[in-house]
Protein backbone atom coordinates (compact mmCIF):
# COMPACT_ATOMS: atom_id res chain seq x y z
CA UNK A 1 0.00 0.00 0.00
CA UNK A 2 2.72 2.34 1.07
CA UNK A 3 4.69 1.71 -2.10
CA UNK A 4 1.86 1.70 -4.56
CA UNK A 5 2.32 5.34 -5.45
CA UNK A 6 5.95 4.74 -6.34
CA UNK A 7 5.19 1.86 -8.66
CA UNK A 8 2.01 3.18 -10.10
CA UNK A 9 2.31 6.96 -10.16
CA UNK A 10 -0.49 7.20 -12.71
CA UNK A 11 -3.00 6.16 -10.09
CA UNK A 12 -2.30 8.97 -7.72
CA UNK A 13 -1.99 11.64 -10.34
CA UNK A 14 -5.08 11.00 -12.38
CA UNK A 15 -7.65 9.37 -10.16
CA UNK A 16 -9.22 11.63 -7.58
CA UNK A 17 -10.37 8.71 -5.47
CA UNK A 18 -6.80 7.69 -4.81
CA UNK A 19 -5.67 11.15 -3.80
CA UNK A 20 -8.35 12.05 -1.31
CA UNK A 21 -8.61 11.49 2.41
CA UNK A 22 -11.37 12.29 4.86
CA UNK A 23 -10.85 13.37 8.44
CA UNK A 24 -13.57 13.85 11.06
CA UNK A 25 -12.94 16.62 13.57
CA UNK A 26 -14.93 17.05 16.78
CA UNK A 27 -14.28 20.66 17.73
CA UNK A 28 -13.17 23.97 16.21
CA UNK A 29 -9.70 23.50 17.74
CA UNK A 30 -9.31 20.08 16.05
CA UNK A 31 -10.21 21.68 12.72
CA UNK A 32 -7.64 24.37 13.39
CA UNK A 33 -4.95 21.81 14.24
CA UNK A 34 -5.69 19.81 11.10
CA UNK A 35 -5.10 22.88 8.93
CA UNK A 36 -1.97 23.68 10.89
CA UNK A 37 -0.63 20.18 10.21
CA UNK A 38 -1.40 20.30 6.48
CA UNK A 39 0.31 23.63 5.91
CA UNK A 40 3.26 22.79 8.18
CA UNK A 41 3.86 19.71 5.96
CA UNK A 42 4.40 21.90 2.90
CA UNK A 43 6.94 24.36 1.56
CA UNK A 44 6.57 26.97 -1.18
CA UNK A 45 3.46 27.60 -3.21
CA UNK A 46 0.21 26.02 -2.04
CA UNK A 47 -3.33 26.61 -3.29
CA UNK A 48 -6.21 25.47 -1.10
CA UNK A 49 -9.82 25.72 -2.27
CA UNK A 50 -12.22 25.57 0.69
CA UNK A 51 -15.77 24.42 0.00
CA UNK A 52 -18.62 24.37 2.48
CA UNK A 53 -21.67 26.24 3.66
CA UNK A 54 -21.79 29.12 6.16
CA UNK A 55 -20.54 27.98 9.54
CA UNK A 56 -19.00 24.73 8.31
CA UNK A 57 -15.50 25.36 9.70
CA UNK A 58 -13.71 27.32 6.98
CA UNK A 59 -12.85 30.22 9.32
CA UNK A 60 -11.26 27.86 11.88
CA UNK A 61 -9.34 26.14 9.13
CA UNK A 62 -7.88 29.43 7.86
CA UNK A 63 -6.87 30.38 11.41
CA UNK A 64 -4.99 27.10 11.60
CA UNK A 65 -3.20 27.95 8.35
CA UNK A 66 -2.22 31.30 9.90
CA UNK A 67 -0.81 29.59 12.99
CA UNK A 68 1.25 27.17 10.92
CA UNK A 69 2.73 30.13 9.05
CA UNK A 70 3.57 32.13 12.17
CA UNK A 71 1.17 34.97 11.32
CA UNK A 72 0.67 37.36 14.21
CA UNK A 73 -2.27 39.36 12.91
CA UNK A 74 -5.84 38.19 13.36
CA UNK A 75 -7.07 36.72 10.09
CA UNK A 76 -10.42 38.40 9.67
CA UNK A 77 -13.05 37.61 7.08
CA UNK A 78 -12.20 39.20 3.72
CA UNK A 79 -15.80 38.99 2.48
CA UNK A 80 -15.96 42.74 1.86
CA UNK A 81 -12.45 43.25 0.58
CA UNK A 82 -12.16 39.99 -1.39
CA UNK A 83 -8.59 39.26 -0.33
CA UNK A 84 -6.55 39.65 2.84
CA UNK A 85 -2.75 39.51 2.79
CA UNK A 86 -0.65 38.37 5.77
CA UNK A 87 3.12 38.03 6.05
CA UNK A 88 4.18 34.80 7.70
CA UNK A 89 7.64 33.75 8.86
CA UNK A 90 8.66 32.48 5.42
CA UNK A 91 5.58 32.63 3.21
CA UNK A 92 2.74 35.08 2.66
CA UNK A 93 -0.89 34.05 3.04
CA UNK A 94 -3.40 35.34 0.50
CA UNK A 95 -6.84 34.72 1.95
CA UNK A 96 -9.64 35.02 -0.59
CA UNK A 97 -13.37 34.94 0.03
CA UNK A 98 -15.47 34.63 -3.10
CA UNK A 99 -18.82 34.74 -1.27
CA UNK A 100 -19.85 37.87 -3.13
CA UNK A 101 -18.35 36.96 -6.45
CA UNK A 102 -20.80 36.49 -9.28
CA UNK A 103 -18.69 35.22 -12.15
CA UNK A 104 -15.36 33.37 -12.14
CA UNK A 105 -14.00 35.73 -14.80
CA UNK A 106 -14.16 38.54 -12.25
CA UNK A 107 -11.53 36.79 -10.19
CA UNK A 108 -9.05 36.88 -13.05
CA UNK A 109 -9.96 40.48 -13.83
CA UNK A 110 -8.69 41.30 -10.33
CA UNK A 111 -5.25 39.88 -11.01
CA UNK A 112 -5.76 36.47 -9.37
CA UNK A 113 -2.86 34.95 -11.31
CA UNK A 114 -0.46 37.43 -9.75
CA UNK A 115 -1.35 36.09 -6.33
CA UNK A 116 -0.80 32.53 -7.58
CA UNK A 117 2.71 33.42 -8.74
CA UNK A 118 3.97 34.73 -5.39
CA UNK A 119 5.15 31.36 -4.04
CA UNK A 120 2.84 31.81 -1.05
CA UNK A 121 -0.17 30.08 0.40
CA UNK A 122 -3.44 30.94 -1.35
CA UNK A 123 -6.55 29.92 0.61
CA UNK A 124 -9.86 30.46 -1.15
CA UNK A 125 -13.19 30.39 0.68
CA UNK A 126 -16.34 29.83 -1.40
CA UNK A 127 -14.05 28.43 -4.08
CA UNK A 128 -17.00 26.85 -5.90
CA UNK A 129 -17.67 30.34 -7.29
CA UNK A 130 -14.53 29.93 -9.39
CA UNK A 131 -14.22 26.16 -9.63
CA UNK A 132 -13.24 25.91 -13.27
CA UNK A 133 -10.59 28.58 -13.21
CA UNK A 134 -8.40 27.28 -10.35
CA UNK A 135 -4.94 25.87 -11.14
CA UNK A 136 -4.59 22.11 -11.69
CA UNK A 137 -2.56 21.55 -8.49
CA UNK A 138 -5.22 23.10 -6.25
CA UNK A 139 -5.96 20.99 -3.17
CA UNK A 140 -9.71 20.94 -2.59
CA UNK A 141 -11.02 20.82 0.96
CA UNK A 142 -14.72 20.03 1.44
CA UNK A 143 -16.37 20.75 4.79
CA UNK A 144 -19.46 18.81 5.70
CA UNK A 145 -21.55 19.53 8.79
CA UNK A 146 -23.06 16.63 10.66
CA UNK A 147 -26.45 17.60 12.02
CA UNK A 148 -26.61 18.96 15.54
CA UNK A 149 -23.08 18.02 16.54
CA UNK A 150 -19.78 19.84 16.41
CA UNK A 151 -18.42 17.15 14.10
CA UNK A 152 -17.11 18.11 10.70
CA UNK A 153 -16.27 15.72 7.88
CA UNK A 154 -13.34 17.31 6.10
CA UNK A 155 -12.40 15.76 2.78
CA UNK A 156 -9.12 16.62 1.08
CA UNK A 157 -8.90 15.85 -2.62
CA UNK A 158 -6.21 16.20 -5.29
CA UNK A 159 -3.51 15.83 -2.64
CA UNK A 160 -0.01 15.40 -4.04
CA UNK A 161 1.65 12.08 -3.08
CA UNK A 162 3.79 13.66 -0.37
CA UNK A 163 0.70 14.87 1.48
CA UNK A 164 -1.51 11.84 1.25
CA UNK A 165 -0.85 10.84 4.84
CA UNK A 166 -0.32 14.29 6.32
CA UNK A 167 -3.07 13.73 8.90
CA UNK A 168 -1.26 10.80 10.47
CA UNK A 169 2.21 12.34 10.62
CA UNK A 170 2.93 14.10 13.86
Amino acid sequence: MKDSSIFAPGNTMTNNKDTSITVVTHSPSETLQLANRLVASTQGALVLALHGELGSGKTCFVQGIGQAMGIRDAITSPTYTLVGEYKGSDRTLYHFDLYRLHDADELWALGFEEYLNQNGVVAIEWAERAEDTLPANTIHVHFDVKDATMERCIRFSNLPPALQRFDTVA
Binding site: P28, E53, L54, G55, T59, C60, Q63, G66, Q67, I71, R72, D73, A74, I75, T76, S77, T79, Y80, T81, L82, V83, G84, E85, Y86, Y99, R100, L101, H102, D103, D105, E106, A109, L110, V145, D147, A148
Partner: protein
Protein backbone atom coordinates in the same frame (compact mmCIF):
# COMPACT_ATOMS: atom_id res chain seq x y z
CA UNK B 1 -8.48 75.43 4.09
CA UNK B 2 -11.05 73.80 1.81
CA UNK B 3 -10.65 70.09 1.07
CA UNK B 4 -12.39 67.98 -1.54
CA UNK B 5 -12.47 64.35 -0.37
CA UNK B 6 -12.91 61.15 -2.37
CA UNK B 7 -13.91 57.73 -1.00
CA UNK B 8 -14.19 54.52 -3.07
CA UNK B 9 -12.99 51.76 -0.73
CA UNK B 10 -16.03 49.47 -1.02
CA UNK B 11 -19.70 49.92 -2.09
CA UNK B 12 -19.96 53.69 -2.06
CA UNK B 13 -18.67 56.20 -4.57
CA UNK B 14 -18.51 59.44 -2.63
CA UNK B 15 -17.10 62.96 -2.85
CA UNK B 16 -17.44 65.81 -0.37
CA UNK B 17 -16.22 69.34 0.24
CA UNK B 18 -15.26 70.31 3.81
CA UNK B 19 -14.09 73.71 5.06
CA UNK B 20 -11.60 73.47 7.95
CA UNK B 21 -12.01 72.78 10.75
CA UNK B 22 -15.18 70.81 10.03
CA UNK B 23 -17.93 72.47 8.03
CA UNK B 24 -19.42 70.04 5.50
CA UNK B 25 -20.31 72.05 2.39
CA UNK B 26 -21.40 69.00 0.39
CA UNK B 27 -21.36 65.21 0.73
CA UNK B 28 -22.51 63.20 -2.28
CA UNK B 29 -22.79 59.43 -1.87
CA UNK B 30 -23.71 57.04 -4.65
CA UNK B 31 -24.32 53.59 -3.23
CA UNK B 32 -24.10 50.42 -5.27
CA UNK B 33 -26.19 48.39 -2.88
CA UNK B 34 -29.23 48.19 -5.14
CA UNK B 35 -27.06 47.15 -8.01
CA UNK B 36 -25.57 44.35 -5.92
CA UNK B 37 -28.81 43.22 -4.32
CA UNK B 38 -29.52 40.20 -6.53
CA UNK B 39 -26.02 38.84 -5.93
CA UNK B 40 -26.18 39.24 -2.17
CA UNK B 41 -23.27 41.65 -1.85
CA UNK B 42 -20.55 43.61 -3.52
CA UNK B 43 -19.30 42.10 -6.73
CA UNK B 44 -15.74 43.40 -6.96
CA UNK B 45 -15.44 43.81 -10.69
CA UNK B 46 -18.83 45.48 -10.98
CA UNK B 47 -17.91 47.67 -8.01
CA UNK B 48 -14.76 49.04 -9.61
CA UNK B 49 -16.48 49.49 -12.96
CA UNK B 50 -19.24 51.42 -11.26
CA UNK B 51 -16.76 53.63 -9.35
CA UNK B 52 -15.14 54.44 -12.66
CA UNK B 53 -18.47 55.39 -14.21
CA UNK B 54 -19.81 57.38 -11.26
CA UNK B 55 -16.77 59.13 -9.84
CA UNK B 56 -16.54 62.05 -12.30
CA UNK B 57 -20.22 62.95 -11.84
CA UNK B 58 -20.11 62.48 -8.07
CA UNK B 59 -17.03 64.73 -7.77
CA UNK B 60 -18.54 67.41 -10.01
CA UNK B 61 -21.80 67.32 -8.05
CA UNK B 62 -19.97 67.67 -4.72
CA UNK B 63 -18.06 70.69 -6.04
CA UNK B 64 -21.24 72.25 -7.42
CA UNK B 65 -23.28 71.71 -4.23
CA UNK B 66 -20.49 73.30 -2.20
CA UNK B 67 -21.10 76.53 -4.14
CA UNK B 68 -17.36 76.90 -4.73
CA UNK B 69 -15.32 77.07 -7.89
CA UNK B 70 -12.46 74.65 -8.59
CA UNK B 71 -10.03 77.49 -7.90
CA UNK B 72 -11.23 77.68 -4.30
CA UNK B 73 -10.34 74.05 -3.47
CA UNK B 74 -7.04 73.94 -1.52
CA UNK B 75 -6.36 70.18 -1.38
CA UNK B 76 -7.66 66.78 -2.48
CA UNK B 77 -8.08 64.07 0.17
CA UNK B 78 -8.50 60.42 -0.79
CA UNK B 79 -8.94 57.07 0.95
CA UNK B 80 -5.79 55.00 0.32
CA UNK B 81 -6.80 51.94 2.37
CA UNK B 82 -7.97 49.60 3.70
CA UNK B 83 -10.44 48.29 1.14
CA UNK B 84 -10.89 46.55 -2.13
CA UNK B 85 -7.71 47.14 -4.17
CA UNK B 86 -9.40 47.63 -7.53
CA UNK B 87 -11.94 50.06 -6.04
CA UNK B 88 -9.35 52.04 -4.06
CA UNK B 89 -7.36 52.46 -7.27
CA UNK B 90 -10.21 54.26 -9.04
CA UNK B 91 -10.49 56.87 -6.26
CA UNK B 92 -6.71 57.25 -5.99
CA UNK B 93 -6.25 57.75 -9.73
CA UNK B 94 -9.07 60.30 -9.85
CA UNK B 95 -7.62 62.17 -6.86
CA UNK B 96 -4.13 62.25 -8.36
CA UNK B 97 -5.53 63.58 -11.62
CA UNK B 98 -7.40 66.35 -9.84
CA UNK B 99 -4.46 67.31 -7.62
CA UNK B 100 -2.12 67.45 -10.61
CA UNK B 101 -4.57 69.39 -12.81
CA UNK B 102 -5.32 71.92 -10.05
CA UNK B 103 -1.72 72.09 -8.81
CA UNK B 104 -2.76 71.44 -5.20
CA UNK B 105 -1.65 68.91 -2.53
CA UNK B 106 -2.93 65.33 -2.26
CA UNK B 107 -3.74 64.07 1.23
CA UNK B 108 -4.05 60.25 1.52
CA UNK B 109 -6.35 59.31 4.43
CA UNK B 110 -6.81 56.01 6.29
CA UNK B 111 -10.46 55.03 5.78
CA UNK B 112 -10.68 53.83 9.40
CA UNK B 113 -9.54 57.20 10.71
CA UNK B 114 -12.52 58.64 8.85
CA UNK B 115 -14.79 56.40 10.95
CA UNK B 116 -12.83 57.04 14.18
CA UNK B 117 -13.29 60.82 13.92
CA UNK B 118 -16.71 60.88 12.18
CA UNK B 119 -18.56 61.40 15.47
CA UNK B 120 -16.82 64.78 15.77
CA UNK B 121 -18.08 65.92 12.39
CA UNK B 122 -21.31 67.62 13.45
CA UNK B 123 -22.14 71.19 14.43
CA UNK B 124 -21.96 71.66 18.18
CA UNK B 125 -19.80 68.63 18.99
CA UNK B 126 -16.41 69.05 20.68
CA UNK B 127 -13.29 69.59 18.62
CA UNK B 128 -10.93 66.62 18.26
CA UNK B 129 -8.49 68.32 20.65
CA UNK B 130 -11.25 68.78 23.23
CA UNK B 131 -12.46 65.19 22.85
CA UNK B 132 -9.00 63.60 23.37
CA UNK B 133 -8.25 61.26 24.96
CA UNK B 134 -11.22 59.12 23.95
CA UNK B 135 -12.18 55.57 23.06
CA UNK B 136 -13.46 55.01 19.53
CA UNK B 137 -15.55 52.07 18.44
CA UNK B 138 -15.53 51.41 14.69
CA UNK B 139 -18.20 48.91 13.76
CA UNK B 140 -19.13 48.14 10.17
CA UNK B 141 -19.46 45.41 7.57
CA UNK B 142 -15.73 44.89 7.29
CA UNK B 143 -14.43 46.13 10.66
CA UNK B 144 -15.10 45.79 14.37
CA UNK B 145 -12.42 47.52 16.41
CA UNK B 146 -11.85 49.42 19.62
CA UNK B 147 -9.08 52.01 19.71
CA UNK B 148 -7.79 54.58 22.13
CA UNK B 149 -7.18 58.02 20.64
CA UNK B 150 -4.66 59.44 23.10
CA UNK B 151 -4.12 62.59 21.09
CA UNK B 152 -5.18 63.43 17.53
CA UNK B 153 -2.01 61.81 16.12
CA UNK B 154 -1.89 58.68 18.25
CA UNK B 155 -4.31 55.82 17.66
CA UNK B 156 -3.71 52.65 19.71
CA UNK B 157 -5.50 49.39 18.90
CA UNK B 158 -7.14 47.84 21.97
CA UNK B 159 -9.09 44.99 20.42
CA UNK B 160 -10.77 43.85 17.23
CA UNK B 161 -12.64 40.94 15.74
CA UNK B 162 -10.53 37.87 15.11
CA UNK B 163 -12.87 36.53 12.42
CA UNK B 164 -16.11 38.14 11.16
CA UNK B 165 -17.06 41.80 11.63
CA UNK B 166 -20.36 42.66 13.32
CA UNK B 167 -21.84 43.85 10.02
CA UNK B 168 -20.92 40.56 8.43
CA UNK B 169 -22.62 38.71 11.28
CA UNK B 170 -25.77 40.68 10.42
CA UNK B 171 -25.43 40.03 6.67
CA UNK B 172 -24.66 36.33 6.94
CA UNK B 173 -27.30 35.84 9.64
CA UNK B 174 -29.85 37.51 7.37
CA UNK B 175 -28.76 35.21 4.57
CA UNK B 176 -29.24 32.10 6.77
CA UNK B 177 -32.74 33.34 7.61
CA UNK B 178 -33.56 34.13 3.98
CA UNK B 179 -33.97 37.86 4.65
CA UNK B 180 -31.89 39.48 1.87
CA UNK B 181 -29.10 42.05 1.72
CA UNK B 182 -28.01 44.24 3.41
CA UNK B 183 -28.87 42.32 6.55
CA UNK B 184 -28.32 45.02 9.19
CA UNK B 185 -31.25 47.35 8.48
CA UNK B 186 -33.59 44.39 7.81
CA UNK B 187 -32.71 42.74 11.12
CA UNK B 188 -32.94 46.04 13.02
CA UNK B 189 -36.51 46.50 11.80
CA UNK B 190 -37.64 42.91 12.41
CA UNK B 191 -35.98 42.74 15.84
CA UNK B 192 -38.19 45.56 17.12
CA UNK B 193 -41.18 43.20 16.89
CA UNK B 194 -39.41 40.19 18.41
CA UNK B 195 -38.50 38.83 21.84
CA UNK B 196 -34.76 39.16 22.34
CA UNK B 197 -34.61 36.45 25.02
CA UNK B 198 -36.55 33.86 23.02
CA UNK B 199 -33.45 32.01 21.80
CA UNK B 200 -30.23 31.66 23.78
CA UNK B 201 -27.41 32.41 21.37
CA UNK B 202 -23.83 32.20 22.70
CA UNK B 203 -21.80 35.25 23.77
CA UNK B 204 -18.29 34.30 22.69
CA UNK B 205 -15.79 35.18 25.40
CA UNK B 206 -12.25 34.99 24.10
CA UNK B 207 -9.66 33.50 26.39
CA UNK B 208 -6.03 34.50 26.67
CA UNK B 209 -5.24 31.03 25.32
CA UNK B 210 -7.35 31.47 22.19
CA UNK B 211 -5.54 34.74 21.50
CA UNK B 212 -2.03 33.54 22.30
CA UNK B 213 -1.10 33.95 18.65
CA UNK B 214 -2.18 37.61 18.70
CA UNK B 215 -0.28 39.06 21.66
CA UNK B 216 -1.20 42.65 20.76
CA UNK B 217 -4.93 42.00 21.20
CA UNK B 218 -6.64 42.13 24.59
CA UNK B 219 -9.02 39.12 24.82
CA UNK B 220 -11.45 41.11 26.93
CA UNK B 221 -11.63 43.80 24.26
CA UNK B 222 -11.71 41.56 21.19
CA UNK B 223 -14.57 39.99 19.30
CA UNK B 224 -15.45 36.73 17.56
CA UNK B 225 -18.66 36.32 15.58
CA UNK B 226 -17.92 33.17 13.62
CA UNK B 227 -19.29 30.91 16.36
CA UNK B 228 -22.49 32.94 16.68
CA UNK B 229 -23.15 32.57 12.97
CA UNK B 230 -22.57 28.81 13.27
CA UNK B 231 -25.00 28.55 16.18
CA UNK B 232 -27.65 30.35 14.10
CA UNK B 233 -27.02 27.85 11.32
CA UNK B 234 -27.60 24.97 13.77
CA UNK B 235 -30.72 26.64 15.09
CA UNK B 236 -32.23 27.13 11.63
CA UNK B 237 -31.44 23.50 10.71
CA UNK B 238 -33.15 22.28 13.84
CA UNK B 239 -36.07 24.71 13.54
CA UNK B 240 -36.67 25.18 9.81
CA UNK B 241 -40.01 26.83 10.61
CA UNK B 242 -38.05 29.80 12.02
CA UNK B 243 -37.35 30.86 8.45
CA UNK B 244 -41.00 30.85 7.41
CA UNK B 245 -43.10 31.72 10.44
CA UNK B 246 -43.09 35.51 10.88
CA UNK B 247 -43.42 35.55 14.66
CA UNK B 248 -40.72 32.93 15.20
CA UNK B 249 -38.44 34.66 12.77
CA UNK B 250 -38.81 37.98 14.60
CA UNK B 251 -37.87 36.26 17.85
CA UNK B 252 -34.82 34.60 16.30
CA UNK B 253 -33.73 37.90 14.72
CA UNK B 254 -34.21 39.83 17.96
CA UNK B 255 -32.23 37.20 19.92
CA UNK B 256 -29.45 37.05 17.36
CA UNK B 257 -29.18 40.85 17.19
CA UNK B 258 -29.05 40.98 20.98
CA UNK B 259 -26.09 38.57 20.98
CA UNK B 260 -24.22 40.77 18.48
CA UNK B 261 -25.03 43.95 20.41
CA UNK B 262 -24.22 42.40 23.82
CA UNK B 263 -20.69 41.64 22.66
CA UNK B 264 -20.19 45.18 21.36
CA UNK B 265 -21.61 46.89 24.46
CA UNK B 266 -19.76 44.72 26.98
CA UNK B 267 -16.39 45.42 25.28
CA UNK B 268 -17.14 49.15 25.14
CA UNK B 269 -17.88 49.10 28.88
CA UNK B 270 -14.52 47.40 29.57
CA UNK B 271 -12.64 49.73 27.25
CA UNK B 272 -14.18 52.75 29.00
CA UNK B 273 -12.59 51.84 32.33
CA UNK B 274 -10.96 55.09 33.47
CA UNK B 275 -12.11 56.99 30.35
CA UNK B 276 -14.76 59.65 29.95
CA UNK B 277 -15.59 59.84 26.24
CA UNK B 278 -16.75 57.15 23.79
CA UNK B 279 -17.17 57.83 20.07
CA UNK B 280 -18.82 55.37 17.70
CA UNK B 281 -18.83 55.27 13.90
CA UNK B 282 -19.28 52.90 10.96
CA UNK B 283 -22.35 51.48 9.25
CA UNK B 284 -23.40 49.19 12.12
CA UNK B 285 -23.41 52.17 14.50
CA UNK B 286 -26.74 53.01 12.82
CA UNK B 287 -28.30 49.99 14.56
CA UNK B 288 -31.02 51.37 16.81
CA UNK B 289 -30.62 48.70 19.49
CA UNK B 290 -26.87 49.32 19.75
CA UNK B 291 -27.42 53.09 20.02
CA UNK B 292 -30.07 52.68 22.70
CA UNK B 293 -27.97 50.26 24.74
CA UNK B 294 -24.91 52.54 24.66
CA UNK B 295 -27.03 55.57 25.52
CA UNK B 296 -28.27 53.64 28.55
CA UNK B 297 -24.72 52.76 29.63
CA UNK B 298 -23.55 56.34 29.09
CA UNK B 299 -26.37 57.74 31.19
CA UNK B 300 -25.75 55.23 33.98
CA UNK B 301 -21.96 55.61 33.99
CA UNK B 302 -21.63 59.30 33.23
CA UNK B 303 -19.79 58.93 29.92
CA UNK B 304 -19.82 61.51 27.19
CA UNK B 305 -21.18 59.48 24.25
CA UNK B 306 -20.51 60.80 20.76
CA UNK B 307 -22.66 59.01 18.19
CA UNK B 308 -21.92 59.69 14.54
CA UNK B 309 -24.75 61.45 12.72
CA UNK B 310 -26.62 58.88 10.58
CA UNK B 311 -25.53 60.49 7.29
CA UNK B 312 -21.85 60.01 8.24
CA UNK B 313 -22.14 56.41 9.56
CA UNK B 314 -21.89 54.44 6.33
CA UNK B 315 -18.91 55.07 4.07
CA UNK B 316 -18.76 58.70 2.94
CA UNK B 317 -16.18 61.20 1.71
CA UNK B 318 -17.05 63.93 4.24
CA UNK B 319 -15.23 62.01 6.98
CA UNK B 320 -12.20 61.59 4.72
CA UNK B 321 -12.07 65.30 3.87
CA UNK B 322 -12.59 66.07 7.58
CA UNK B 323 -9.52 64.06 8.70
CA UNK B 324 -7.47 65.91 6.06
CA UNK B 325 -8.92 69.34 6.95
CA UNK B 326 -7.99 68.70 10.59
CA UNK B 327 -4.37 68.22 9.60
CA UNK B 328 -4.35 64.60 10.83
CA UNK B 329 -2.98 63.06 7.63
CA UNK B 330 0.24 63.61 5.71
CA UNK B 331 0.22 66.17 2.91
CA UNK B 332 1.96 65.23 -0.34
CA UNK B 333 2.76 67.41 -3.32
CA UNK B 334 3.87 67.13 -6.93
CA UNK B 335 5.97 64.09 -7.82
CA UNK B 336 5.68 62.67 -4.27
CA UNK B 337 1.89 62.76 -4.50
CA UNK B 338 1.99 60.76 -7.73
CA UNK B 339 4.01 58.03 -5.96
CA UNK B 340 1.35 57.33 -3.31
CA UNK B 341 0.02 53.81 -3.62
CA UNK B 342 -3.20 52.27 -2.32
CA UNK B 343 -2.85 49.90 0.67
CA UNK B 344 -5.69 47.34 0.72
CA UNK B 345 -4.58 45.88 4.09
CA UNK B 346 -3.77 49.19 5.82
CA UNK B 347 -3.78 48.93 9.63
CA UNK B 348 -6.05 51.08 11.78
CA UNK B 349 -3.08 52.53 13.69
CA UNK B 350 -1.32 54.01 10.65
CA UNK B 351 -2.15 57.63 9.89
CA UNK B 352 0.00 59.06 7.14
CA UNK B 353 0.95 57.38 3.89
CA UNK B 354 4.58 57.14 2.90
CA UNK B 355 5.53 57.27 -0.73
Amino acid sequence: MIVLGIETSCDETSAAVVRAPGEVLSNVVFTQQEMHGPFGGVVPEIASRSHLEKLPDVVEQAREESGLSWGEIDAIAVTYGPGLASSLLIGMSGAKGLAMRLGIPLIPVNHLHGHIFSALLSPGCPSIQEACPFIAHVVSGGHTSLVEVKDPQTVRLLGQTIDDAAGEAFDKGASLLGLGYPGGPLMDRLAKEGNASAVKFPRTQLSADSLKHYPHLDPELSFSYSGLKTSLMYYVKKHPESRDDDVQRQDVVASYQEAIVDALVSRCVRAMDGQTTLAMGGGVSLNSRLRARLQGEAAARGWQLLLTEPRFCADNAAMIAFVAAQGLAGVTKGVDAMKIDVMPSLSIVIGSARC
